[in-house]
Amino acid sequence: MKLYDYILSPSCYKVRLMAALTDVKLDIRPVDFHPGAEHRGAALMDLNPAGSIPILEDGDLILTESSAMLVYLAARAAPEWLGSGTTEETARVQQWLSFSNRLTTSLGAARLHEMLLRPGDITELQMHGIAALREVEAGLVEQGVRGMRFLASDRPTVADIACFPYVALAPDGGVSLDPYPAIRLWSRALRSLENFIEMPGIHRLHELKPAPYIEPGGA
């Protein structure tokens, strides 16, 4: 299974992360994003007329939308990542998969503007980013009331992986995550998953220091 990949792209990272979590081996093919703009070149435009990456190729199957790639990896290797299959949960997974595009066009664009000097109205992008973050925060809080820790279920699903990267990288675009405690706990839960991998800007959890030893009978 071949992934046309760029190390700094959060959408490519979604696919790398999903593959790591579901133990699928990817054949990574780095794309000359800078300076060659290879993703706009004839060969890759043939695969994906939209001129975007990631692109996932598996035999005759060519996928150009990262959410579809997450679903494909999960369906193939670890269907529990698709959710339990109840009506409501299935709908919630779909809701967040579609919603994730709003994170890309707001927080993702703000990040490109602030980091790689892409043109854009930064105030507008950050404003839409904040609105989207507030929805994620509210969604997680509501899930907490239902006794669930993740966006669509009590276990992580493709919905979490679709939303996590652009949320976690919001500070790269000048949008702070400080006001969102539920997002920070959720981010911590995802980063603690076995086989979690990081990307530049998303740091792994380091071992916490052992708990201090307190003398019995002390204050």
Binding site: Y6, I7, P30, H34, P35, M115, L117, D172, P200, G201
Partner: protein
């Protein structure tokens, strides 16, 4: 705040290979500038009021200055060695002091925590003793050794890498490191920093490597990975400006290079992006 001394230095303002006639609007120390290619194919830099600024093209980049540079751009002799590959990594904007970007580049103690499993790994966190000196008015750190799981794209498996660091200009640092395919030679990795404002900079990493096997794309992705891991740390450092007042922080032995760099900045009155008095 005075920044007279830094006004006359050379700064990177763009990649020469990416210049076009339309020009690129950017900034240098708070002044809007325009960097373009003229009809003869030469780089042209224009200041805020339309005045022409000094230009030099070297190490893949266009260099300019708001003042009148008293000397030529610092030399990197390795840039003229045959057989090396020169890599224009591109630009990354960082909301931090240009001096902090350089200082971070000089630090090795953060490798295991920020560049985990690439440039360092726990429990190999010890920074062994190394030497720092001022050599021909440049800051040099030598005999720096560190255990690294994957020191370079061309390295397979962990090795103890030896480094030398050099600061030839207030916002530029040159790193020499063990070159896995060619023992005896050094790979050269530089950090050229364009000060846009005192707390905002564009960083232009550049490399001159002996590596015949790794593709250019892999080399760029590797270096971008490293630098973007640093970016999120740099943007969260407090205070935003680099403190030059020794009362601000308590350095450890591992920070020798940083201490020398800060003293050298202070001695030259290189204070654009610095905090002079602890607040």
């Amino acid at each position: 705040m005075t920044h007279d001394a830094m006004i006359d230095e050379w700064y990177p303002v763009g990649l020469f290979s990416k210049l076009d006639a339309g020009g690129r609007k950017t900034a240098l120390m708070g002044e809007p500038i325009d960097v373009a290619r003229d009809a003869e194919g030469n780089a042209r830099v224009t200041g805020g009021n339309g005045r022409p600024l000094p230009v030099c093209v070297r190490y893949g980049h266009v260099w300019s200055s708001l003042g009148a540079p008293q000397k030529a751009l610092f030399a990197i002799p390795e840039a003229d060695q045959a057989g090396r590959r020169f890599v224009d990594v591109g630009v990354v904007r960082v909301r931090c002091s240009p001096l902090r970007a350089v200082e971070n580049f000089l630090d090795i103690a953060h490798f295991p925590f920020v560049h985990t499993d690439i440039l360092g790994a726990e429990p190999h966190t010890e920074v062994q003793n190394y030497k720092v000196e001022i050599r021909e008015d440049e800051v040099w750190a030598t005999q720096v050794k560190f255990y690294q799981p994957q020191a370079a794209k061309s390295a397979s498996g962990g090795i103890t890498t030896e480094y030398m660091y050099r600061v030839p200009a207030p916002t530029c640092a040159v790193l020499y490191k063990t070159c896995p395919p060619r023992p005896g030679e050094w790979d050269v990795i530089t950090l050229f920093v364009q000060p846009l404002a005192e707390d905002l900079c564009d960083v232009w990493p550049w490399m001159a490597l002996y590596d015949d096997t790794t593709t250019l794309t892999d080399l760029i992705h590797f270096q971008q990975t490293i630098f973007l891991q640093d970016r999120s740390i740099l943007e969260n450092q407090i205070p935003r400006l680099l403190p030059l007042d020794p009362g601000m922080e308590i350095p450890t032995r591992a920070d020798l290079t940083s201490v020398a760099y800060r003293r050298w900045l202070k001695r030259h009155d290189y204070t654009y992006g610095a905090q002079l008095v602890a607040q």
